[in-house]
């Protein structure tokens, strides 16, 4: 499957008031609260919401255990109406492994950020993928430690300014970003690997399809499924909230390219050439 597409920001034509009304009328599934305290413009609530809606649509709410890492999104770990196990920073894949091996009929999903999964806990996700652990790992990638206030992570792109790369990430001083989805896709145990984004309605729709496919991969017991979602962090990027979707497309999105990198089930179904 070759569904690579650039992450483009498509401004909506709808008037702000109209957009607000649409959102207000829509009650999120499996979310206990109507409001959150994350920063304006943050992409993480959008991604988490898309994930729990995918769980709801596939009728998995009564067999799902979500394992949360530590980041801004942790604010949601006690506000969801799916079972949640809180893990330490970096450690969600091994904790999820213990859950899945104990309860093989559950659907186990981890939620981690790029600091959590790539900086602190890289070996955990790689080993889980190599084991073909039948879980779904979701990484919310904004290229910074958002919760601590905008510090460099292992996915920060070259030239990106953070509080610990003041003049922009310099390969000589700071090394180069890890493109985790590309790395995971090379491991034989990984059955489904995709990267997507939430910076436009179109990208969010693609993210939603990707999340459903990843969960479906777990249901089919095909192996490890991995979804990397690029999310906005205007606070940690030190830019205006309204500039964040385009900033994502122009910076993170040109390095961490969106697309389905691997889908062994689709490959098996495709006619041989």
């Amino acid at each position: 499957m070759n569904d690579r597409s650039p992450v483009e920001f498509v401004p909506t034509d709808a008037a702000p008031r109209e957009a607000a009304r649409l959102v207000d009328d829509f009650t999120p599934a499996l979310v206990d609260v109507g409001a959150h305290h994350l920063c304006p413009g943050c992409g993480e609530p959008i991604a988490v919401r898309s994930l729990v809606e995918a769980i709801d649509e596939l009728a998995l709410a009564q067999r799902t255990i979500a394992v949360f890492g530590i980041g801004c999104y942790t604010a949601f770990s006690n506000n969801l109406d799916v079972e949640v196990l809180q893990a330490l920073h970096g450690r969600a894949p091994s904790v999820a492994t213990g859950v899945k091996r104990s309860l093989p009929d559950t659907v186990v999903v981890t939620v981690q950020g790029d600091g959590d999964m790539v900086s602190e806990g890289l070996q955990e996700v790689l080993h889980a993928a190599a084991r073909g652990e039948n879980i779904t790992c979701v990484m919310l990638n904004n290229g910074v430690f958002g919760e601590t206030g905008g510090h460099m992570t292992a996915t920060t792109v070259l030239g990106q300014r953070t509080k610990t790369s003041l003049d922009g990430r310099d390969p000589a001083a700071h090394g180069r970003p890890i493109l985790l989805a590309d790395l995971v896709a090379r491991l034989d145990g990984a059955a489904y690997v995709a990267r997507c984004a939430v910076n436009s309605a179109g990208e969010l729709a693609r993210t939603h399809r990707v999340l459903r496919r990843a969960l479906d991969t777990q249901l089919s017991k095909a192996g490890f499924s991995f979804v990397e979602i690029l999310t906005m962090c205007p606070t940690g990027w030190f830019i205006e909230t309204s500039d964040a979707p385009r900033y994502l497309a122009d910076n993170l999105g040109t390095v961490h390219r969106a697309g389905v990198l691997k889908d062994v089930r689709a490959d098996a179904e495709a006619p041989s050439s």
């Binding site: 770990s77 969801l80 079972e83 809180q86 330490l88 894949p93 091994s94 213990g98 859950v99 091996r101």
Partner: protein, 344 residues
Amino acid sequence: MIAAGCRFFAGYPMTPFTEVLEEMAKKLPAVGGVCMNAESELEAIGMAWGAAATGTPAATGSTGQGLSLMQESLAEITMARLPLVVLNMARAQGDYWQATRGGGHGDYRHLVLAPVDVAEAVELVGRAFELAAAWRNPVVVLGDYYLAHTARAVDVPLPDQAPRPANDWALTGESGGSGHAKLVSFLGSEKQRDGVGYDLAVHYAACAEHTADMLRDVPAEAESGFVDDADVVVVAFGTPGSYVRAAIRSLRAEGVRVGWVRPVTLVPFPVDVISAAARRAKAVAVYENNAGQMLDDVRLAVLGDAPVEFIGGLSLDASGFGIAPDLDVSVLRERILGVVERHA
């Protein structure tokens, strides 16, 4: 372990813990359990954490060095109120502080049991699973090189048929969509429903209260001998406790008025037994294969009622695995006699 109910085990090979992992890999699948050869100690404790959260009787372990890696998770597993059994097949006895104080962050305590031999280890591992389930708290079984590398035929009691405490808190995946989906978190178990996150102050206070209840209600246990009329009481735990016992018995046979106390539970520490013995004695001696760690707890128990002398020492063999050259009954006899003479 298996007779005690263990159905999930994860570990990373490390001498002298390795044989435990080998045996579990061999025997756990046959009873429907899961044994994971984890890629690191960090992952071993993570896997055990996940299994414990589903209510599966779970265990992990290592030797002290590997347990150092696990401490961050051990601290948070405790704050998440999860039952877990942790084996430390230690090299010598330098992990007393790690086991009894914990090397992690925050206000937490683990229960710690220290078997003297294989037969007692079987009994204490069973009790460790019971205590972990009853108190929803990790329990450490602190062994040593000799215990890990000793094979003995022992009676393994049939599994206790007494009902285990209800696991209403355990994750099953089934409570989602009910409006009351379960949450297992070291940040708090109460859902706030205000979008803000957790109330850490409330959770930490509840955990502290629970820990205090546990330390008060779990009985401390010690084995002792000849303490009623002993001039010198020697305190030792684990395998060295059996050497001290042998040395005391041979000195008693010669009419020397000495006695011993061997703490079986290190947390809670058998303060009452030691303080009662100290009040009747002229001196208390501590033998352990380290630079003097349990020594602190003995001093706290004695509280000045008798002088406390350290007669132990480091394990100085080149391997560092705990073949202490002074772990010898004749050497111990000389050291104990020295204490007797100094306080005659």
